[in-house]
Structures are given as C-alpha cells and as structure tokens.
Symmetry: C2
C-alpha cells in the first residue's frame, strides 16, 4: 500500500458529503424543511437526498444509489445469499439483452411487459437485424436455457438466482426506490418435476422475504395471495408480502410466483419422468427489489430525516467529540480509542473530528443520515471516563461508562431494532379497519387506511372498488384468515370466499 | 424451511448438468475431443461448455455465466472488496443508461467508444426524445455526479467503485470471457486534489490487480505502461497488467488509468483549493473484467478440460465413492463423514454418489470441470481407514489416512495453487525473447512468442510493427526495465528510450 493509500484509509468522515464551500459553516447543511405528516412526497425527496442515499440524473426514473444506499442493499444481498445457498439455489448471470422473438414467446407475459420495454435498435452505427429488449425480467431468456438443460427427472430441480438491474420504461411518476425505470433486484428461477415441491418453495421463499422485511428492515408485512387481476404477467398465481406506510399508502414488498406450465409450454421445458412419459416442469420465480429500502425509509423516517434500523445501517455509531482548544488532543485520543474498540466488536462507527464545524452541525449531519446512535464525548466525559449515547429513534440520552460500551452499544442497537419493528407493527395493525359494506370500504380507503373486507372472489367486485377510489388496489388475500367469515361480500352481498385487503398503493 | 427445501439442500451433485437421457450411460458425457495445442480455439469452446461455465445465447457476444463461472467471479469480488475498503473506496451504483449528450462531452473518449455503443431509442411504443447509450464505461455519468459533489479541497478525495456489466457492440469475433459484447467488471473512479496522490493510486491499484491475477488465478502478469496508441480513450496514460497464454497470444489483464484533467475540464469538476484558487481535480479510473477468468482457463486448462486454481475453485474436492452392491451403505457413510469433516475446515466438496454412473464417468465429469482434487474411497479404503487423493493438475495419486485429511487436503490445495503459478511463470519467462532488429522482432512474434525490443518511443515505429505482423500489438512498456538499454531502436535504429513488448494479442 502506498503512503497515500494508508493516509486515505484513515479518513474518518465519508467523502462526497458536499459542504458547498471551503469554509465550514453551520448554516450550510439545512435539515428537512417540511414535516413528514404535512407533505410526505417533499419530505421523502429531502430525506433521501439530504440523507445521502440518492442523486438524481438527467434521465427520469434512473437514479444514482450512493454508498449509504448501496451498502444497505449489500446487507440484504448478504442475508439473502445465506438463505438461498442451503436451499440449493446457485447464483449466476444471464444476459442483459433479450431478443424480441424470445421475449414474445409467452403470450400473457409479453402482453404485460410490452408497453414498458426499453428497446436497443442500434449497435454503433449499424441498425440491428432484430430489436433487443433490456430485460424487464428474465423468465424468457432463462426458460430458453432451462429447455437446453433439462432432459430427465434426474436433472431436476434446477434452482438459479441472479442479482442485477432491470429496466421498465413506465410513464407513471417515478420516485427513487419506489418506482424507477431502472431498479436493482434479485430474481430467482426454479423448476421442479412435481407441483408440490414447486408450490412449497413459493411459500418458503415468501417467508424468506418476510424475514428480510421484518428482521433486517424492521418493516412488518402481511403475507398473502394476489388476486388474478394483480398477479404477475405469466403466473398461475402470485404471492406477496405487503406493508402499509405511515404516509397512508400500501406497498408491495416482494413477490413469489408459481408459474405453473405457462413458460414450460411456451419454451418446451419437458423432462422424461420415471414412468417414461415426457412432462412439462413446474416453474417458479421470486424477487425482491431496492423498493424494500424505500419502504424502510418511509416507515421509520421522521421530521429530522432518515432513521435506519441497525441491522442494515452502514454506520451504527457516529462519534462526535466535543472539542475545545485546551483539551483537543485528549478528547480526540479518547474518541479514537472508542472507535478502535468498537471496530473490534463489529460495530461500524465514524469519528467526526472535522474542524471548523460545530457540534450542532455534526449532530444534524448524522441525524439526517439516520445513524442509529450518536456518541458524544467532551473533556468532562473524559475526566469521568464516560460517554453520552443518544438514540436516533427516540432522542433518548444516556450516560455510559466507557468500560461498559462493548455491552451497552450492542444492547442499545438491538433495542432500537426491536423498538422500530414493534412501533411499526402497532401502526400497521391500527391502520387495518374491518369493513362490511361498500360505503364503509370506500370511506376507510379515503381515510388513508387499509380496508379489510369480505370478498366473494369475483373480479368484478374488485374492479368496482378500484374504479370507485382513485389509486386504490387490492393488496392481497392474506393467508391469515379468520375462522369464520362475515355473512356477505362487502360489494355484491354474495357469500364471501375470503377477507381481502384494499388500500391506496404505490 | 419446508421439508422439500431441506431435501434439496442436501443434494450433493449440482443440478443442471445435462445427462441427456433418463438412463445413465457412460458414453454420454464425452471429454474434450481436440488437443489444446492442436486447435486452441475449438479446445477453448469445448472446455468452457463441457466444463459447465458458459451457455451460448441467440445474441452473438452475450453469454450466460453458469454457476461455476459466477462463483469464481464472486471470489474475485470478495477479494477485491476487501482490498478497496481499507483504501477508502465505497461501492455504489450509477445508472445503466447514459444520455447521448453526456456521453459525447469528452472528445477523445467518445471518439473511442462511439463505434461500439448500443443505443436505446424506444421506451415501450414511444420513441425517446434523446438516444440513451447502454454504458460502455461510466466515466461520463460519474463525472457529471462528481461535478455536483465537489466544492472544496475538503471534499477530496472521492473514491467510488461499482460492480456491473457494460456493453460494447464490437464486430470482431466474440469469444466468451475474452471478448463479449456484454461483460462484467468493476470500475473504480477516484478524484484527488493533487497529482501525486492520484498517480500513487494508479500504481497502487495496478498492484492489487497483479495480486488478483497471481495470488487468486495463478496467472503471472507483467505490469507496465501502455503506449499512447494503446491507451484508454480519454486517459493521460494507461497502466496495465499483461500476460501471455500458452496458445501463443498475449492478453491485457486489467487497466488503471490516470485521466488527468480530461474529464475534469469537460465536466467542470473544480474545487476551491486552500490557497483560494479554483482547480480541476486529478482523476483516475481502473477496472478488471471477467476476461480474467478467460486468461485463467487458457493458462491452466489441459487436454482433459479445465484446471481451476484452488483459491477460486467453487468446489475443491470431488468425492467419488467406489460403490459395489455389498458395501454400498458402508462406503457411502464413510464418504459422507468425510464431506462433513471437510465442510468444517472450509473445504468445499461435492459428494458424487449418483447411482447408475460408473466411477470412470464420474472421474471424467469432475476433471472436465477442473476440480482441483478427487477423493476416491472404496470398500478396501474403508477397511484401511484411508482415501485416495488425485491431483487434477498433475494426475498424481496419494493414499492418505482419513485422520490426516484435515491437514493433507489444505496442504495439497496450496501445493496445487503454488505449482500452477510456478509453471505458468516459467512458461511466461520462456515466451519472452529479447530482439535487436526488426527482422528478429517479426520472426519472434510470428513464432507465437513475445518480442522484447528496444524502442525509441515513436508511434511510427510501433505502427510499423503492428502493420507488419497480423494481429500484433504493443503490450506495454514494462515498469521493470534493464539498467542499461541496447544501442538502438529495433525498428528505426534511433536511440531507444525503453524496452517494449510486442506480441499477437487477444
């Protein structure tokens, strides 16, 4: 390592946080200027830009994911890879570009995706003989490969996954994380000899997604089945985890599809079974996107900016030494020794010893970024061999002896993680209102809540709701159903088949 | 986890290896049918397809990287991430699509890339107002962001990296890993206040690439500076690591560029310096691609197929129990207990207990895939509490007591790793021939060797060589130069400035 590299490796404050001018000035980094409850959309834009997650680009719907955002996605990747590997799923990579003739092989699939495909028509100065789609999803190119790899039942199951970005050229209003024209995701694709194994996996993977949301992102979700109107283009059925955000909108978190024989038939993925007959495979796909980060931000953020759950936080502790001229070196050394001991227990910390910035400026700086804990230490704390710890989520302050930090900090981080999930669960439960009539249903949705309604299972009743309330959608039919159902469908008064959730949705 | 998932997690043989028929048959998986020395190109195609790394697609130059290939790339990612993190480099993600107006901002850059850009012209049914390039590299979109993030010297350095794929629509003959229209890489982009820090990093990163090639892939490389004719479009200068493959062609391994002020000027990336003046930043970029895997394959593969160095091998040991009807269960249990104990010492193994396949079939199967060690155990070995270990690189057999495996296997893997590098180093050294005259130079290149020639530094002499010998290129001016140079340039007889390497090259 060169000297310079060594020097740089010691930098304690992430670079690229613009100070706008050479001279430091407290007033330069302003906090969020709107309340989350007053203007959720403006609050969100400020939270993700001032919180150093997103940079906009010239191309609408295409965003730069800054290091703090990408580090969280890497945490999700790490967690997810550890889940799928023991399930026999292998990571691999399929091409970005899919020929038009391949993309159009499965009818309902292409009908769903054609309006939003980004087409490559030229290579250099030459027009291509066939248009190439930037993958909106990869079922078609993967099924084309599966058809070459499968001969007999011995070859099954095949389970693959890829981490990549996909492009869907939507014309709805784009929002970073929540609705982008390019977004990052993983897509798992698996094929099985028998239906039961395939369907078991659909639900198994949905539960993995539930873990990602609840255990990592502290975002409670409801698992269920999408209606036929809302299922994936090409699926037999789609399962999903859904959440409801404090801004009054629901969000589909991740999906796991049983695709049946739709693609197996279109791509001729058949195998010689043990009984000597040739059968089509049973096919699943499942995915989670960077949208999950958008849900997390909207769920936990407050009027001061981001609040990041410790398990995905790139930085757990922001150490802010309170520096006066006469005690500068003593306090700095004290802070450095704390940073050093935290690194030993895998607590990621940043030491903000920038000169020329006030403590208040720095508090604001790390609050905007949602760092779970702030650790302050001034000359008096050094004397007492203690520090001040401040929770980002509650603002709660505690004085902790330096010698107890290696126990106190992990405990506090766990407490923050648990508390974020508990509060969010409570809010989610309070948002769901059981309704009996169509009028009640409309009223609850209009009140920015989730309506839980008895439903006959008919798509015409579902359509009546979505056309009656702007931006309303059915979220899912939760797996968790009451033992006995109300007497009649909230819309048509027929006998209900299940309880269904409706709300305004992203 | 469902029962089915548990069952699948126990699978011992990777799926997707086609057996073509339900009934197993020794003759179905044929080995490589040509000698590497007779027909390198056909050998390579067979090695990467039969070795289960690559699947071709309908789109020329776009390939499927199968799990065995992707796992090796993940090893490189892991190694590289651990190197850059302490250097203060942060991973992040920039968009796939770059507007034409942004791509064309730096003149020499766009001149180099225009002929091979894949253009997106339509989103769904709509023609886009401006064509979008699929990134061939990301300097332009990253510099556009840098210009927003830099105000003062306090903001510098900024060091970012992204792992992604890029598209270059070349019309030369494509070859998986070596020359693809889509390929995977990392691209690091860094900016500094001062030239020295920037240039120090150029060389520091080049040394990291040298480690990736030599320590992970066992591919020896020569570090040096590219000539002006061969440098990156938009660079002040380009450094590279180069290797020479047994098939008689050189290959550029990875590059690290000092871009000076080229992009800083085009994108107005300036900072307020401590002296109060506004200065352009010093800018680097550096990258390594999946081409590195192609180099490794060509370097070590033999007439039986792939030979994978242990440090990147997804599977270290293929366990093949020799099964007879009367001792089946005993031998299988013995093999399973070995697999279990190997997993405890982080040795990745596969237990090939497929029924209906002969031992010979299995040996061939794992040899094709380049697995470093084969472990055989039959009923007699069980009796003697031993196993047979067979090295993939040398075919060397040894009988090892079962109780010594946890020491013997890691030692053998290290020995294989070292031996692959040593042999490759020796071959590389033998391939380089020092020449004095133009005739000698041409002859050596024609003999499929590397000519090391004294060079005056003039581009016209370089061009004379490349036009005299088909597919010949200057590789680099190695950093390692002799204390005194020969009397005259091999081409023009003028006073030489340095020794330069010429060879046919990928």
């Amino acid at each position: 390592m060169t000297k310079d590299a060594v020097k740089n490796s010691k930098q304690t404050v992430p670079k690229g946080a613009p100070h706008k001018q050479a001279k430091a000035d407290d007033k330069l980094e302003v906090g969020i200027t709107v309340k989350k409850s007053d203007d959720a959309s403006e609050w969100y834009t400020q939270a993700i830009t001032k919180g150093d997650l997103i940079e906009y680009t010239q191309v609408s719907g295409c965003y730069i994911l800054k290091p703090n955002a990408w580090a969280m996605w890497e945490r999700i990747q790490e967690f997810f890879n550890k889940e799928i590997k023991p399930r026999g799923v292998k990571n691999m990579q399929f091409p970005l570009l899919i020929p038009e003739s391949l993309l159009t092989k499965e009818q309902s699939h292409i009908a769903g995706f054609t309006p939003e495909v980004a087409w490559v028509t030229h290579g250099g100065h030459h027009e291509l003989p066939e248009r190439l789609a930037i993958r909106p999803t990869s079922e078609t190119i993967i099924c084309d490969a599966f058809s070459k790899w499968v001969r007999s039942y011995r070859d099954l199951p095949i389970k693959v996954n890829q981490w990549c970005s996909v492009v869907r050229w939507e014309f709805k209003h784009p929002t970073p994380f929540l609705r982008g024209r390019e977004f990052h995701w993983q897509e798992g694709h698996t094929i099985f000899a028998d239906k039961k194994s395939a369907e078991d996996e659909v639900f198994d993977m949905l539960m993995v997604y539930k873990h990602v949301f609840e255990d990592l992102l502290a975002v409670p979700v409801i698992a269920g089945k999408k209606t036929d109107a809302e299922k994936f283009a090409g699926a037999e059925y789609t399962t999903s985890v859904e959440t409801f955000l404090p801004v009054g909108k629901a969000l589909q978190g991740a999906t796991s599809h049983y695709l049946g024989h739709h693609f197996a038939d279109a791509f001729d993925i058949r195998f010689l079974a043990e009984d000597g007959t040739r059968k089509p495979v049973h096919h699943n796909s499942w995915g989670i996107t960077t949208r999950s980060l958008g849900a997390m931000i909207l769920m936990h953020g407050d009027d001061k900016g981001l609040v990041i759950p410790p398990r995905v936080a790139p930085i757990h502790v922001a150490i802010v030494p309170i520096i006066f001229d006469d005690s500068k070196e003593r306090v700095r050394k004290y802070a450095e020794s704390i940073k050093h001991s935290l690194s030993k227990i895998c607590v990621e910390s940043v030491l903000d010893d920038r000169e020329g910035f006030s403590a208040g400026y720095k508090f604001n700086h790390w609050e905007l970024r949602g760092v779970p804990l702030r650790l302050e230490c001034g000359p008096k704390d050094v004397e007492k061999d203690q520090v001040v710890l401040v929770r980002r989520d509650t603002g709660e302050k505690s004085f902790v002896p330096k010698t107890s930090l290696s126990i106190a900090i992990p405990e506090l981080l766990q407490a923050i993680q648990d508390s974020l999930l508990d509060k969010a669960k409570k809010r989610l439960e309070e948002s769901i209102v059981e309704v009996k009539s169509f009028d009640e249903l409309k009223k609850v949705i209009a009140q920015k809540k989730v309506a839980k309604a008895p439903w006959c299972g008919d798509v015409s009743c579902e359509k009546k709701v979505t056309s009656a309330v702007d931006a309303a959608k059915s979220l899912c039919v939760p797996f968790d159903q009451p033992k006995s159902l109300p007497a009649s469908c909230a819309v048509c008064r027929a006998k209900p088949k299940a309880m269904i959730l409706f709300a305004r949705s992203y």
